[in-house]
């Protein structure tokens, strides 16, 4: 694979009900980078991310224009299966992601679509569940798990496809502090390109050296997470607020 992991150019998109969500988005993410995507509610973050593996946008038959490259090659209808293996998407609500009757069935869903069967499939499922520490819950129904456990299984369903790019939509939302830290441990141990939507600014600073700031369907700032969070003017202009007493300049980040 050559070229940047993700390259997006002049991306425009409107939902079928006529509401336009993206008004010309441009950015590039190199291999191995960890990037946070920040922005207020309704900025278009989720919409943007759903374009990265071709489930929204013109390749999927929607109304929009612009260019998306994954690993240096344009997104085409014929490449979609390959792109969907490379770009793993973890949805915001784990209930959207876990749709099969048991955890095992669910984690197996992706690799089975890739053609894995029998012992190979089982090994892949086990490996992914071990990565998130959920191997003891394989036969449980998703709605019997706690929210934090469901989030971890949701990550496992994507890891089971061995993605090169991992995209997460608000992974720390609704988690208790311990679950939040456990998830951070899992994510920081992965060897992938990471793009993470979050409102949890300390989380962004902890995990991502770079941040994109999005508002009104456009990227309005792109830089080191520490610089962005330290720019009080920029932050308030886009309805972002640091937790009480949190100083982005005084805590350690991922850059050593």
């Amino acid at each position: 694979m050559s070229g940047p992991s993700i390259h997006v150019e002049r991306l425009v998109f409107a939902y079928p009900d006529g509401r336009q969500a993206l008004f010309g988005v441009d950015f590039t993410i190199q291999r191995g980078e960890r990037v946070a995507l920040l922005g207020p509610n309704g900025a278009g973050k989720t919409t943007l991310v759903l374009h990265l593996n071709g489930i929204l946008g013109s390749v999927a038959g929607g109304s929009g224009s612009g260019r998306i490259q994954i690993g240096g090659s344009d997104l085409h209808r014929e490449h979609l299966p390959e792109v969907r293996r490379k770009v793993g998407l973890v949805f915001q609500d784990p209930d959207d992601q876990l749709f099969m009757p048991t955890v095992r069935d669910d984690v197996a869903f992706g690799p089975a679509n890739l053609g894995l069967r029998g012992a190979d499939l089982e090994a892949r499922v086990h490996e992914a569940l071990v990565q998130v520490g959920m191997q003891d819950h394989a036969d449980v129904a998703p709605h019997h798990l706690s929210y934090g456990q469901r989030r971890r299984v949701a990550v496992a369903t994507v890891l089971a496809m061995r993605p090169e790019v991992l995209v997460l939509d608000e992974p720390s939302s609704n988690l208790d502090p311990a679950s939040r830290r456990e998830l951070a441990d899992i994510l920081s141990g992965l060897d992938v390109t990471l793009l993470m939507i979050t409102h949890d600014l300390p989380y962004a600073l902890q995990l991502c050296e770079r941040s994109l700031l999005m508002d009104d369907g456009r990227i309005v700032a792109d830089g080191s997470t520490r610089d962005l969070l330290g720019d009080a003017h920029l932050m308030s202009a886009h309805r972002l607020e640091l937790p009480y007493g949190f100083d982005p300049l005084s805590v350690p980040g991922p850059e050593r």
Binding site: R10, V12, P16, D17, Q20, G24, G61, S63, G64
Partner: protein, 342 residues
């Protein structure tokens, strides 16, 4: 209206079972494209929704309550074929997972609550939409009327099945009056809830309403340089009203009515029964519809019992449709007058 095992005789259960299987098979074929594009998850969630809503009771009167059947609503939201699948799924889960509605009566239940409500509902929706102004909002009155009509028709069909395959002779006029009268009240509740659900959907996500897909306005797209252009919204399923859909709807409804009557008439008890009904007078005379030619579900003056029974079923459906159309006409006259006034 979940019929338990043994409520109707075996031939009736088998006949309705065959009708249900045929309808589900046909719907699977017709809905194939929809389901390939929108995914089985959408149909599954609609089914979960219908199931959940069926658990909510609303007061009907006299201290009793009814609950939504949801056939017309499902037809408007996901289209008739997916709706038949959705309703059948709900009934299958209720029967197998919640022991609600007998397994041998599954065909009967699917026919009554999955097939008739959906087809009658959708037929009314389509017809009314043709006379109402061409906007998405029109789908609300259309479906409300569809819901209102579909419930009593299902009750009528239940009475018809009872006439054919009920174990005990009871005055059918009385049964029909009681069932239909009661279900007109339930239908009113159904209509109110259906109207509210559809208004909410039309207000927030008009693109979701299957029955109104062809009424969507074009949308405007602003590109990266700020230039705007008009594009037509992506319509995964072309849902233009075609004469064929209507035809299929009518044909299917008539077929259901006709086939049920004919099949069951072949059964000795049913035959005997219809014969007895033909010379029927007495107990039912006091009921409101007793004087009408359909009072006893056999058309008087026609000698052959089987033909008479089948004819009665078909006429019943036609009359219902006619009543629905008249109401629609009145409603549309009103709304066009209101449009002019505005």
């Amino acid at each position: 209206m979940h019929v338990p095992d043994g409520f109707f005789d075996a031939p009736t259960s088998v006949a309705t079972g065959l009708i249900a299987a045929g309808a589900v098979g046909f719907s699977l074929q017709r809905a194939n494209r929809e389901i390939r594009e929108t995914g089985p998850a959408l149909a599954g969630l609609t089914a979960a929704f219908v199931f959940a809503v069926q658990m909510v009771n609303f007061p009907v009167g006299a201290g009793t309550s009814g609950h939504l059947l949801g056939g017309a609503l499902a037809a408007a939201l996901v289209g008739p074929w997916s709706a038949v699948l959705v309703m059948s799924t709900v009934l299958l889960v209720q029967g197998l997972l919640f022991a609600d509605g007998g397994l041998t009566a599954l065909g009967t239940n699917i026919t009554l609550m999955g097939l008739i409500t959906v087809l009658v509902g959708y037929f009314v929706i389509r017809t009314v939409l043709q006379v109402l102004p061409k906007r998405v909002g029109s789908v609300v009155p259309a479906t409300t009327l569809g819901a209102l009509v579909s419930v009593p028709v299902a009750a009528l069909a239940f009475t018809g099945l009872y006439a054919i395959g009920g174990a005990v002779d009871i005055p059918l006029g009385k049964l029909a009056t009681a069932m239909v009268g009661w279900h007109i009240l339930v239908g009113l509740g159904e209509a109110v809830i259906t109207a509210a659900v559809l208004s909410a959907v039309v207000a927030t996500r008009p693109d979701l309403v299957y029955a109104a897909r062809h009424l969507q306005p074009d949308l405007v797209l602003v590109d990266a340089d700020g230039n705007s252009s008009t594009v037509s919204p992506d319509r995964p399923i072309a849902a233009k009203p075609t004469g064929r859909t209507l035809g299929v709807g009518i044909a299917a409804t008539l077929l259901v009515a006709g086939v049920v009557s004919l099949f069951a008439s072949a059964h000795p008890d049913g035959l005997e029964f219809v014969g007895a009904r033909l010379g029927f007078d007495g107990a039912a005379k006091d009921s409101a519809v007793a004087g009408s030619p359909l009072a006893d579900y056999g058309v008087s003056g026609i000698g052959n019992a089987q033909v008479s029974g089948a004819l009665a079923g078909i006429i019943g459906v036609l009359v219902t449709i006619a009543v629905g159309l008249t109401i629609a006409k009145v409603a549309s006259l009103r709304s066009s007058r209101a449009d002019k006034a505005a």
